[in-house]
Amino acid sequence: MSWELHRVVIVGGGMMGRSLATRVAQEGINVYLKEVSTEAVEVAKAELDRSLEHEIARFGLTNAEKKAILSRITWVTHYDCATDCDLALEAVQEDFGLKRQILRELDRRMPAENPIVITTSTLSITELATQNTHPERFVGMHFLYPVTTTRVVEVVRGQLTTDEVYERAIDFARLLGKVPIKVFEMPGFVTTRTILPLINEAIHIVMEGVAEAAEVDLALKMGFNFNSGPLEWADRTGLDRVLNWMQHLYHESGEPRHRPCPLLKRLVRAGLLGAKTGRGFFEYDENRHRTDRLPDDKPRMA
């Protein structure tokens, strides 16, 4: 890396923010993790602890490594830390107004040449950037779930993003241990734009009664060697989030093929949002383990 990266500020202590903070800290870089209030910090801290403990139980991490990670993460509730950060990254929900407000706070405080990364799968980097004093230092990154294990990240160039900022974002992606996929901004980029219609089609199949949800998933999982079927993937992502993306995509493209399936809307309205609520297309326990797998849905041992 031809530039130096010592301190990073991440805005948003949700799943994405925590996962990225963990990865950055694992590389020996200090992270400020910003949440809205001390109460929110406490909640996020507990969640981070829980996920690190889970990873230890899965053998992926040791107690000593956990300690080292936590020692490099500083929780904050204000933006003052941004003044001495080499890179900022916002990881809040897909809400244009909220993101715009955060980006303005960061842009106001960070040295002009330091990149500000927007994590988004559907919003326009350019539109979010132009509101600021230094729109050329904004760049997008689209991380896929689960953020810690998925190997690729889409690095998104906006209309005004400079080559230097874009290269730094590519370096940052590699530092996180991800393979960068270079994309220009356009709703859904590559991954979301292809997976959403697949999910939507799978939901249509269920709605039409062609096959049970569990069988649709199993067919695709085993047929194409996916880690999970598209419906379980949607459940784990959150059906509300999937619907939100789908609506964005439909809104931007106007293509009928991007219209959200009515069954998806029905589940979201009923509050059946997937793993986080215990039920979506499938059922989950409090540890988000699926409880209704078909007998055939098991790892192949030979």
Binding site: G28, L61, T62, R300
Partner: protein, 418 residues
């Protein structure tokens, strides 16, 4: 000549200044003038520690972000009028670098040239966690001391004398040709020193003897050294094979790995970490990777600490007998490393019952040796058993002298299989 010995890890640089030359080496009178390290490179609170005999330990903290500034810091402290031990960097005559993996390219310690650097880089694929920081240390030291010779000393080189029937695995041969999958062995610098020093103590010629060197530290391995040549060693393609270690599994049925991956749905990363960091004494006992804590828990009646201890000693005992068989006999067994030097319990349990092959432990002597050199076998024991503290840094310094004087031995493979 004053030699700077460097052992560069990903976030630390360990160093020693050793005064040695051909005369001192032969008289076993090499002088360690200073020992130290820089820890937590890459952070704002990096620490430098310098220990000089008969002086108070010196410590300092500052932000050190990469190896080059770390080594500049080391040189500045070494030449400091108050805390240092030399007047100028010019007094350092040469630098010795520890390099973990030399692959099949290096069967000896060598003067570092641009070609050598290129070959070490090529070996990085075999030791992705170790060789890159070793090289970063070299680049940094070379930038600060471009006019002195730099020598690379490999952990693997000593074991290059293994015959093909010892280093090949019983898997399709093309994997050896294509991916260089074979046993390399590690701790070579330690096994070399310990067998050399052990024979020196006994007044033996190493070239005439069959020796087993047992290094028990964080990592554990033993080597069968037959007439001064390593003919087998327990670590393999990586340092995971062989003995049960603090957090590493050692030998196991390879079929377990895909099976556990499928059953537990583990990723490659998780299964690697499981075998390297969650296994061994720690994984079995659930208590600690530290033998001292295992012994304590065992004394307090902890069943799993006891079984972990027994596994550790049992596996070691099997290997000792196996290596005696490999050499058709054994004249001496040497223990070294933190556990080997300081744990009479482990030594006793690893060799008790081996009287049939001429190993007789003197329990009292064994209990008495917990710091420094000493013999622990009875006067009647056909096989001599000694504790010989290792000194890898000294071996590196001596190799620098050997390379510069053109007397560095080459651990030539006895055969190549194509």
């Amino acid at each position: 000549m004053k030699i700077l010995v460097l052992n560069s890890g990903s976030s630390s640089v360990k160093f020693q200044i050793i005064e040695t030359d051909l005369e001192r080496m032969n008289a076993h009178q090499d002088l360690t003038l200073a020992v130290g390290q820089v820890e937590k490179i890459g952070l704002s609170d990096s620490r430098l520690v310098l220990e000089v005999p008969d002086r108070k330990t010196y410590q300092d903290y500052r932000e050190i972000l990469e190896h080059r500034t770390a080594i500049e810091w080391v040189l500045r402290i070494l030449t400091d009028p108050e805390h240092g031990i030399i007047e100028s960097v010019g007094e350092i005559g040469a630098v010795g670098h520890r390099v973990v993996h030399g692959g099949e390219a290096f069967a000896s310690s060598v003067l570092i040239t641009p070609d050598v650097v290129e070959q070490i880089e090529a070996c990085s694929v075999l030791a992705p966690l170790h060789n890159p920081p070793n090289l970063r240390g070299y680049y940094a030291a070379h930038a600060a001391m471009p006019d002195v010779p730099h020598v690379a000393v490999f952990d693997t080189a000593f074991h290059q004398t293994m015959p093909a029937h010892a280093f090949l695995y019983g898997i399709p041969f093309q994997l050896y040709k294509k991916h260089h999958i074979r046993k390399y062995g590690f701790h070579g610098t330690s096994h070399r020193f310990v067998t050399f020093r052990g024979c020196q103590i006994l007044g033996w010629e190493r070239e005439e003897r069959r020796l087993i060197s047992i290094h028990l530290g964080n990592g554990c391995s033993l080597a069968a050294v037959d007439h001064a040549r390593s003919i087998d060693t327990s670590m393999g393609f990586t340092p995971l094979e062989g003995l049960v270690m603090g957090t590493r599994s050692g030998d196991m049925d390879p079929a377990i790995i895909p099976w556990v991956m499928a059953m537990e749905e583990l990723t490659l990363h998780q299964v690697n970490t499981m075998l390297n960091k969650h296994s061994g004494l720690y994984g079995v006992s659930g208590i600690s990777s530290d033998m001292r804590e295992i012994l304590e828990a065992r004394a307090n009646g902890n069943e799993r600490a006891d079984v972990a201890f027994r596994m550790f000693c049992y596996r070691l005992k099997k290997y000792i007998a196996a290596y005696a068989a490999a050499m058709s006999g054994v004249d001496a067994v040497f223990f070294t490393g933190g556990i080997g030097e300081r744990s009479p319990e482990v030594r006793e349990n690893a060799i008790i019952g081996l009287e049939f092959m001429g190993i007789e432990l003197d329990r009292e002597r064994n209990q008495a040796v917990t710091d420094g050199e000493g013999e622990i076998s009875t006067g009647n024991s056909k096989v001599r058993v000694l504790v010989v503290p290792t000194n890898e840094e000294k071996t590196i310094a001596r190799d620098v002298v050997r390379v510069l004087n053109g007397i560095m031995p080459v651990f030539t493979p006895p055969e190549t299989i194509t």
